[in-house]
């Protein structure tokens, strides 16, 4: 496998109002290779990818594709040069079918020639199958879960058969099994000569998949295109954050058995199909809820919050049956909070400022007579969390949409940490958050629990689950399969979890 240089970027600079996102970054991609692009949240990874694909225009620097200098004025031109991309944020047309979304680029060949939908569906089905995605290509994407949308987006990029393929955190909302499928596919692509760039905050993945690596720190190269071989995890971490990773290991946390449940579900059935759900979370406890994508965990949380009706059973809060009809009631009457897994759809008001988002849960409680409320009050309340999570933003007035993906996620979590609720449902809190902040976040969650908050943690990130949870409940197909007491050993716990899931599937 002769590998030659497929693409080169040199001295790329890019400024946004108030931020210098890239300060002379270089990157070299070779054929027959998968290249890792790593860095903290806001380091400039996505910006670099957007520059390479013509979404943004560099202030300085050169892009060289197969020896030729190129200037992409728009994403169209990049696509025409067979540079494909999966962006960090989902970019699909909600009402279009999966097949049409996958092939949108290819429709443009002739504007008037009728679209051959049968063929489109057939083509799409092939890509979906390759990624192990079992959905009808005619389904509108608006009906898919976040994870499935992500896979559709990957299929969309693959369908271009690009020479250079850039993947910005494609695995952020995937579970290990889907990730494995994707990886074997990417390796096949690599072997066929493509040149791939892979961004992830899961270092294990990057190390497993990639053969070379570029690390960005604060908009500059911490290392440029060096072989992955010989780099250990700690080396990479040092490159990323300038020093070694502390060991934020599992900690045994004891909740005295006498502590009453803060929230308890008794024989809950829902209109979405949950049956016979019994669970409780005691004050100060962190209970994990694990399951594969589509297991119905998010849906359960939403049913608790009154978004979908319960058809049987009761939810008790502090021992008293509670009828929650909206998140507003949950927050203001029962002091229950919910960190959404879908930051773009439900978590954040993207067009508003950092402050406007982070404070949204505390406006009511903070406001005085006639609802009077000043920015200062809100800032006072939320800044500690924003600082603790190291949100990288030029100011609190910055529009959230302009933040990097990971930093957006931090805001989405921070606002619920600030809300000071007694019961917190946390759904995929660390999607897209870098390793350093993830550790801080875990700290914050533990701290909350230590101070008496009951936490129900939903995450598809198994290490995170095993690191944080006191007990782990396993859900599959809208039913609870069992419970494990966490002993902090990754091997043992993950095997136990998988057993529970597979036992139910075998049954």
């Amino acid at each position: 496998m002769a590998s030659e240089i497929a693409f080169q970027a040199t001295g790329i600079e890019k400024s946004f109002p108030g931020v210098k996102a890239l300060k002379g970054v270089s990157l070299t991609l070779k054929t027959h290779s998968i290249h890792a692009l790593l860095g903290e949240n806001g380091a400039g990874k996505s910006t670099l990818i957007k520059i390479i694909t013509g979404v943004h225009h560099p202030d300085a620097g050169r892009l060289i594709l197969e020896g030729q200098e190129v200037h992409f004025a728009s994403p169209r031109e990049a696509i025409a040069h067979r540079v494909g991309v999966v962006h960090q944020e989902r970019n699909l047309i909600p009402r279009f079918s999966v097949a049409e979304n996958i092939h949108l680029e290819q429709l443009g060949a002739s504007l008037l020639k009728p679209v051959d939908y049968a063929n489109l569906n057939k083509q799409a089905a092939r890509w979906l199958e390759a990624l192990g995605l079992d959905i009808d290509p005619r389904t509108p994407v608006s009906r898919l879960s976040v994870a499935k949308m992500q896979l559709v987006e990957i299929a969309k990029a693959l369908s271009l058969r690009s020479r250079v393929l850039l993947l910005d955190e494609p695995t952020a909302s995937l579970t290990p099994s889907e990730t494995d499928l994707l990886f074997s596919f990417l390796r096949k692509l690599r072997d066929s000569g493509a040149s791939l760039l892979f961004v992830s905050h899961k270092l294990e993945e990057a190390q497993e998949l990639c053969d070379s690596v570029t690390v960005l720190r604060d908009g500059s190269n911490a290392c440029e295109s060096r072989p992955m071989e010989g780099l250990g995890r700690q080396d990479i971490v040092r490159l990323m954050i300038g020093r070694a990773e502390g060991d934020g290991g599992w900690r045994k946390r004891d909740t005295p058995p006498g502590v009453p449940p803060a929230i308890e579900l008794k024989n809950v059935e829902t209109s979405l199909g949950h049956a016979n759900v019994n669970l409780h979370v005691r004050k100060g406890e962190i209970v994990g809820l694990y399951g594969l994508v589509g297991a119905g965990r998010t849906e359960l949380a939403k049913c608790i919050l009154g978004q979908f009706p319960l058809t049987a059973g009761t939810v008790e809060i502090d021992g008293k049956p509670a009828k929650i009809r909206s998140v507003g009631e949950a927050l203001h009457i029962h002091r229950v909070g919910y960190v959404s897994e879908d930051r773009k759809g439900e978590g954040l008001v993207l067009m508003h400022s950092v402050l406007g988002n982070a404070g949204i849960t505390v406006w009511r409680p903070l406001s005085a007579l006639l609802g009077f409320l000043t920015d200062r009050l809100v800032r006072h309340k939320v800044t500690p969390y924003i600082e603790k999570l190291e949100v990288k933003t030029p100011s609190l007035a910055q529009t959230v949409a302009n933040l990097s993906g990971g930093n957006q996620q931090k805001i989405s979590v921070a606002k619920w940490l600030a809300a000071g609720v007694k019961i917190l449902l946390v759904d995929e809190p660390s999607v897209g958050i870098d390793i350093k902040t993830k550790a801080y976040l875990h700290d914050l969650l533990r701290e909350l629990a230590d101070n008496g908050t009951a936490i129900l943690l939903i995450t598809s990130d198994m290490p995170e689950m095993i690191l944080l949870a006191d007990r782990i409940l396993v859900m599959n197909d809208y039913r609870l399969q069992g419970q494990l007491i966490n002993d902090g050993s990754y091997a043992g716990m993950s095997e136990g979890i998988m057993n529970l899931i597979h036992r139910s599937e075998a049954a």
């Binding site: 998140v327 927050l331 008001v349 993207l350 949204i360 849960t361 924003i386 700290d443």
Partner: protein, 346 residues
Amino acid sequence: MSYPDLPAKGPSGDIVGKPRRNTAATRFYLTNEFGLIALIVLFALAFQFATDGFFSPFNLFSLGRIAAVNIMIGLAMMVVVITGGLNLAVGAIGVCAAMTCGYLIEVVGLPWPIAILSAVALGAMLGFINGWTSVRTGLHSFIITLATMSIFFGVMIFLTRAESYRALPPVFAAFGRMKLLGIFSPLLLVSLMAALFLGYLYNLTAVGREMLAAGAKPEAAEMSGINVGRIFIYCHMLSGALAACAALMLVARNGAAIPSMAGQLGQDWLLIAFLGPVLGGTLLTGGKASVLGTCLGAFLVTMLTSGLLLLQLGDFWIQSFLGLLLLAAVLMDKTRRTFLARRNMA
């Protein structure tokens, strides 16, 4: 517990809460409001140069008086546009309120302050009907207010048989004709007060912030504990009340409550109602409002019309010139912003 070697604060790259030097000023120059002020000054000078009498006391007075009403109408629309909806019934609600005020004074014989309050309350109530219906049915407020526009106006015409009420106490007409310092209409003060109130609402109260958040992204707002439905209803009620205020200002200006003051079905108000907010930077998709921008936008349009009338261009062509001027204004503003943004980044 762990990570003992970590600094407590974010690294130096984070500038939480400390805006960079210069950005505040730059940001202001980049705003719609600044652009509108620049355009207003520019066109005012141009008109002064090209016409006689643009700055004459009477013209300033009448300009201010028309602008005052237009601003109020713009605000009435703005508060609903924030929700991503719209209120086609502003005119109809306004006329209903004005006629109610006239009826209460002339037929029932209530003292005028009570009549005014009742009229505003009626406006809010009609707004409530709009809001409640659109929230409850989940239909877009476009279609709801399209229907209620017909209904409200139709009921009004049916009840009044298109007769005006003009036996109003002289304070009304006097207020409409009063001149402060020889050039200002006190109606401007009323609009100013409404604008200040809205500014307070959106910047300094929880409800106002909730309105903006709910309008920008209802799903996210709902999932953050905001009762989006109730907030939308508040917005419609506010819109109704402001529409009533605008209509009462017209009553003062005309010295009578007349059914035709907003045209057939109240549609005459619609263009100006949208124009002010949109020029002022309010997004039709919701979530962003500029009270000052709306005022300036409405004022700019009123001024352009007034200036053009003074220019005495061919009668039937005036409308074309107004359109061209409006285009020129927005294009100039756009160029300014692009220019500044480029300069600023380089």
